[in-house]
């Protein structure tokens, strides 16, 4: 109500402050806690080989989660990332005959096109993101399976390098994930596009009035998500030396969404926490690893993950109306 005159900002109650702190830093604290726990109680945890494995496993989740974070920042969602991974994997195999660079390019273009399609549905047709990307989830995986109906192996030196080589002791896939994190962080913090996309999610009406090209921004964000998912797919394929569109990336969207939400990026849009997203992915990964190493059943991971999501979103509640 524009009627009420000056209202002084209320001093934050201690409960609100705790919740706010939890939302911002909870994930870092949790990761730290888990790390310490493992250092203390898990044998062989501090070994290089272990770290390598963990990082390699978490890399594709991080990459797709980065794209997901951008989309969620605009108050949207992208359920198609897993299917895009499968499609990109299929494209790699199909175009491998022309050489690795072409194959990779084809995969990336495919991902971008799928993203453009989703973005157009959302921005121009006004379809809700969940339905638009749901349609893509179903259709694109089907397409991937049509193109490559069964597990197809290949031998390509360039891809082998991509999948297994290390740079300065770190696996290439991990380096790429780290590089992409840096790029996305840069985009969000330092570019017009990053500022604008956050404004679109924060208050779309205000963004529009400020002259922002809202529709173009929305399409771009879904294109980026598709692109990143394609990268993840290419890397996974390179590691496996095989393409299996039936199972590649299955349920990846769930992991990505979890990582983003737990990392402190609100589903209501308006803020993107890049580092938090990475931490969220690491948290889930560590959780799984901890449970496995201590011979706790896999079922626990799922249930704990569920609780963590609820807690993360509950804590985020009073922040944005």
């Amino acid at each position: 109500m524009a009627e009420t005159a000056a209202t002084l900002p209320q001093p934050l109650g201690s409960r609100t402050r705790v919740l706010a702190w939890l939302q911002r830093y909870g994930v870092y604290a949790s990761v730290l806690a888990l790390l310490l726990f493992n250092v203390a109680f898990t044998p062989h945890f501090l070994e290089v080989a272990n770290f390598r494995t963990q990082l390699i496993q978490v890399a594709p989740v991080v990459i797709t989660a980065l794209g997901m974070a951008l989309v969620i920042g605009t108050e949207g969602i992208d359920l198609s990332v897993g299917s895009v991974m499968a499609l990109s994997s299929a494209m790699v195999v199909l175009y491998l005959g022309y050489g690795a660079p072409v194959a990779i390019a084809a995969a990336l273009v495919a991902g971008a096109l799928v993203g453009a399609g989703g973005g157009a549905l959302v921005a121009y047709a006004g379809v809700q993101p969940i339905v638009a990307t749901l349609a893509l989830l179903v259709g694109v995986r089907g397409l991937a399976n049509v193109l490559v109906p069964q597990l197809t192996e290949f031998r390509n030196p360039a891809l082998i390098t991509l999948g297994s080589r290390s740079v300065l002791g770190l696996p290439l896939v991990v380096v790429i994930a780290a590089a992409l994190t840096a790029v996305v962080a840069f985009v969000v913090k330092r570019t017009i596009f990053g500022r604008q996309l956050v404004a679109v999610g924060g208050n779309r009406a205000a963004a529009k009035l400020s002259g922002l090209p809202v529709r173009r921004i929305l399409v771009a964000v879904y294109v980026l998500s598709g692109l990143l998912a394609a990268v993840a797919g290419v890397l996974a394929t390179a590691r496996l030396q095989a393409s299996d569109p039936t199972s590649l990336g299955l349920l990846m969207e769930l992991s990505a969404i979890t990582a983003v939400v737990v990392g402190g990026t609100p589903l209501t849009g308006g803020r993107v926490r890049v580092l938090g997203t990475v931490m969220g992915a690491l948290l889930i990964q560590l959780l799984q690893a901890t449970l496995i190493k201590h011979n706790l059943p896999q079922s626990w991971t799922q249930m704990v993950q569920a609780v963590i999501i609820l807690a993360a979103v509950y804590a985020a509640r009073g922040r944005k109306k």
Binding site: A6, L8, Q10, R190, I192, N203, G211, K321
Partner: protein, 511 residues
Amino acid sequence: MDNGSAPVLEARGISKGFPGVLALDGVSFRLGAGEVHALVGENGAGKSTFIKVLTGVHQPDRGELRLRGEPVTFGTPLEAQRAGISTVYQEVNLVPQMSVAHNLLLGREPRGRLGVIDVTGLHARAADLVAGLGLRLDVRRPLRSLGMGAQQMVALARAVSIDARVVVMDEPTSALEPREVDTLFGVIARLRDAGIAVVYVSHRLEELYRICDRVTVLRDGRVAHTGPLDELERVKLIALMLGRDATDVRLRGQTEFSGDHTAKNGQPVVEARALSRRHQLHDVSVRVRPGEVVGLGGLLGAGRSETAKAIAGALPFDGGAVVVAGHAVRKGSPGAAIRAGASLLPEDRKAEGIVPTMSVRDNIALAALPRLSRAGIVSEARLDRVVTTLMKRLRIKATSPHQMVSELSGGNQQKVLLARSLATGAKVLLLDEPTRGIDVGAKAEVQALIDELAAEGLGVLLISSDLEELVEGSDRVVVLRDGVVVGELSGAEVTEEAIMKAIAEGGGADG
């Protein structure tokens, strides 16, 4: 029309406060059976709060409500409803997707065999209700397929059907065509005949005089006047609403506006030519020259915000054109308007202004990002310079530019939005209620600022419900009523009485 017997609804000494503001101060009110009572007042007068107290949305801090002589308290709107007070809101609070019949009888559907809803009976009963108000419509249609007028009447029918003794109507005609208004008034007349009392909240004076028996005027949370409407002259009514004495001309000069700005002659910095938009604007033309402050006068719903938004590219229009600094601006594109040099400060800063998840700095820079970047990368240094300069100039009180804008006071938020407009290098500022809802100190600062900016050569289009502010701040005033320009005053002509007169009578022939 009966007010000899005991009132059906009575409020005694109602006071209600919120943090920082006293919205109602000892308001008393009497409503008789079969009476149509107008409740008027400008924004901030306490009208909405009073209605909310009557209908159970708020509970008064002091005072009491009496229904048919018995003291009552309403903890929720539902309780008020059950007690017989129904409200028909401006935004029809029914379910648009459901049919008229289902909306009318939600929660009270007639049952048939086995306890399931008797659909034929439902439609029959709904048709009866509707016919009882003198209407004829297909009750099976979805509510949203009807025009706003018909929807309002369905809401009214529902209110009546739950045995309401008092019906509160909040701005019921703001979205209606003249013909629909006639129908509505026919319905209200029936209600009156049936002994139901109506509280009619509106700013449309002709309508009040048509349908209402008595009037209560609220101003600054208090009752400024209450009595029969036919004893009150139109101009006097407006004067009461706006807190001015119609015959007593006193320049109190409590605003910070210093007086004349010397408008540079030559090409207007913005020109709206014959803007038209269905239901809202009819052939509206406004011109602002550099260094000039042009006020848009008129009551709520006159089309002031719509004019400003149309110029700013935020409201597509059907006819006419907008020219900024000599260049025609593509309609419907805020980006184009901003690039041409016109920037809008929206009326509702919460809904359309501030981005709550971003900092002060980012909010200020939002509309100017393309100018503050190179090759897509934001030049932080340049941005910081612009932000610091603006924050200092506008005296924005924040712990730092990085503070969350949602933590600032209303006045400072408004300044942030003003800074956002200035950061775009605007040549003309379209200010829609720039001092609404902010504290006195910030108000003064903003007014002084507007003066300064005009002196520097910016053009300003000023919309304000505060008549004093409008008069003292503007060089010229264009008066609107119901989307039509009914008067244009300049220089010495710009006085509160003249504006009020124009609002009340202006336009001459039927407009």
